[in-house]
Each structure stands twice: as C-alpha cells, then as structure tokens.
Subunit: 190 residues, 2 copies
DNA sequence: CGTATGACCGAAAAAATAATTTAGTCATTT
DNA sequence: AAATGACTAAATTATTTTTTCGGTCATACG
C-alpha cells in the first residue's frame, strides 16, 4: 500500500494556506509540496474550495474541542477564560491560519478568506457569549449584554495579538494574558 | 469687502472630505461647493495636501483643546475618561472625518488618509498614555504598561463605535459608555 | 484494470495600453 | 489686484492583450 495520499495533501495544503493565504496557494504548488500529481488532489477533493473547507473544518473542530473541554471544567469564569487564552495562544497553526486569512481579507479581500475568518470568529464569539451568559446567571459576572461583551473580549484579544504588532514589538504571551486579565477581570482601577 | 473666501473654502473642503474622503474630493468640487473659482483655492493653499493638512490641524487642535480641558479638571481618572468619551462621541464632525478616513484607508489605502488617521490616533494615544501614567503615579490605577493600556482603550472604543456596526445595529452612546466603563473601571466580574 | 498523472482547455487574473480625469498653472477678466 | 476657468501634464481609470491557474481527461503505470 502506498503512503496515505490524502493526509499528505491536507498537510501540504495547510502549510501553503498558512504561509501564502487562500488565493496565492495554487493547486500545482500543493501537489508539488505533497509530492503527488495535480490530478491526484481531485480524487480526494472536488475543488480548491472543498480542500480549503476541509482544512477550515479541522481547525474549527480543534477550536471547538478545546473550547468544550475548557467549558466543561468545574472552574470560575475567569479561570476558564484564562485557560482559553492559553490554549489559543498555544495553538500556533490555527491561530496563524486565522491571522493569514485576516491579512488576506484586508489586503485583497478574497471572499473565501473572508468566509474562513468569519466562520472562526463566529465560533469564538458564540462560545464566549454562552460562557458569559452562564456566568451572569450564576452571578459571577455583572449583568451586561453578553454579545457586546464577547465582541469586546475578542477585539481586545485580536488587537493585542495582531494589531499591536503593526507599530510595536510583539508582546509575549505572558504580557498579552496579563493585560487581557487586567481589563476583563477587575479593571485597571485599584 | 467680499465674503471671507478662505473660510468658505475650508468649510466646503471639510464637508467634502467628511462625505467623500480624501481621494474622491476634487478641487473643482470644493470650488463649486464654496462658490469660488478653482484658481482661488490656490491663492490660499499651495496644494490639495496643504488644504487637507490645515483641516486636519484644526481637527487635532479641537481634539487637543478638549483633551487638555478635561485633563486639567480636578477629577478622578475614571471621571476624566468618562468625560473624554462623552466629548469625543459628541464631536461628530471630527469623529466622522476620522471614521471616513479610516474607511478610505481600509478600502483603497490612500496614503494621505492613512497619515491623517495616524496623526489623530497618535494624539489620542499619547494623551491617554499620559493620563494613565499620571493615574498610576497617584495610585489610582494599577501599575501596567501605559502604552499598552492606552492602545487597548482606544481599540475598544473604535471596536464599539465603528466595527460593531458592520454586523449589528449601532449601539447608542449610553451603551457604548456603559460597556467601556464596565471593562475599564472595575472589570466585568462581580 | 484501476489509480495516478501531467499536458491541455477555458476562464479568470495580471500586464500592457488607451482613454479619461484631475491637480495645478496662468493668461484673461472683473 | 484679486478672481477665474480654459489649459496641460500627470495620474487614474477603462479597455485590450497576455499570462496564469483551476479543473478535466486521455495516457501511463503498477
């Protein structure tokens, strides 16, 4: 039996999407990296979009599984949030795919990249919203619009992990977490 | 004596920059709105950029004067911040110019618009940073990197006033302030 | 035979070129 | 002397030509 060609292709495509984005990844390039003929890709995936979808599915599945594991923990809201940030910051590959796609949306507005970003964002937002909702019910968090609060937390996270780097030295993980917690948990006031 | 042509031109140009952005504003259009000949503009401003600069100067001056007035108040950090948000949210014209230019940067990346946005942002960031620094010294605010904190507050503000509207009904001023304060002053935890 | 392959095709993107618009000037008017 | 709008060169946009790339399929290979 020959080596598992499908995995080979998925791996190669993931690498390429992370490095070059959706548009700049060509099927020939993927076939070269995977060491298969171009036609072989089409025995496993109908189109480039389908290949992209499957990689996106995998990424959101990983994200969902991380989030569900953390949500199931018997822990305070703030510790869950802490763990969530840890996990995401650790998850380099998915995070980098997200960042690359977001950049592609900014630069050339590729529609597939936009949909990918939206999908990952919507997952994260919905998870955050649910957790906040629950924490409000349990009295852990002040009553507030959970959608808005989730949105703010995500924007804050993205601001620190990607936007900050445009004009400054990147912040290390510890400082990102530190500052996120400063704002979210008790505010910056003494 | 004829009516003050320079003010007329500045007013017309401001209107046009706010409505159409830097690039889509033509000198002929400005002259039409101001009811003067095109050549007349060039008796007061050497170039389109200089005209833009002067309007930008005026906007940042207004912003600076608001910020200085608020900074001078004998008040707690959080109340100053509160007042600052109020003032900015009130300051529709400057705020709208900023928003329009930011949109133009996103959409077509006009270099003059980018510089305008940067200039206004840098003013706001520096002011915030100073205030935070001072509040840390006086023990009002927890020790933290004031640059990062200022950046976070500004991103949060922009997220709520502009980004939120891309996928949701705009938030009214009261809710924007409420949610900003929720995060900044005491955190969302009970 | 069935799976893998790369030359091949049409469609889509990029580059090149033509046409239009606009910032800035200046001879004329008021 | 100040204001103006027709004019020009440069930049922007529309159009055409060229190249690239997603997807197919006849052939090769195991």
């Amino acid at each position: 039996m020959s080596i598992d060609r499908k995995s080979l292709i998925l791996l190669a495509a993931t690498k390429s999407f992370v490095q070059f984005g959706y548009k700049a990844t060509t099927m020939e390039q993927v076939s070269k990296i995977a060491n298969v003929g171009k036609g072989t890709i089409y025995t496993f995936f109908k189109t480039k979009e389908e290949l992209f979808e499957e990689i996106l599915d995998k990424a959101t599945q990983e994200l969902t599984s991380v989030m569900n594991r953390i949500a199931a923990e018997d822990n305070t809201f703030i510790h869950k949030l802490f763990n969530l940030l840890d996990s995401i910051l650790e998850f380099r590959s998915d995070h980098e795919l997200f960042v690359k796609l977001a950049q592609e949306v900014r630069d050339i507005g590729t529609v597939q990249a936009l949909e990918g970003v939206k999908r990952m964002e919507d997952y994260a937002l919905d998870f955050l919203r649910q957790q906040i909702e629950r924490a409000i019910s349990s009295g852990e968090v002040k009553p507030c619009d959970s959608s808005v609060a989730a949105f703010m937390i995500l924007r804050l996270y993205l601001a620190l992990t990607t936007e900050w780097n445009k004009a400054h030295e990147p912040l290390d993980e510890a400082r990102i977490k530190e500052h996120m917690m400063l704002f979210i948990s008790n505010g910056i006031l003494k």
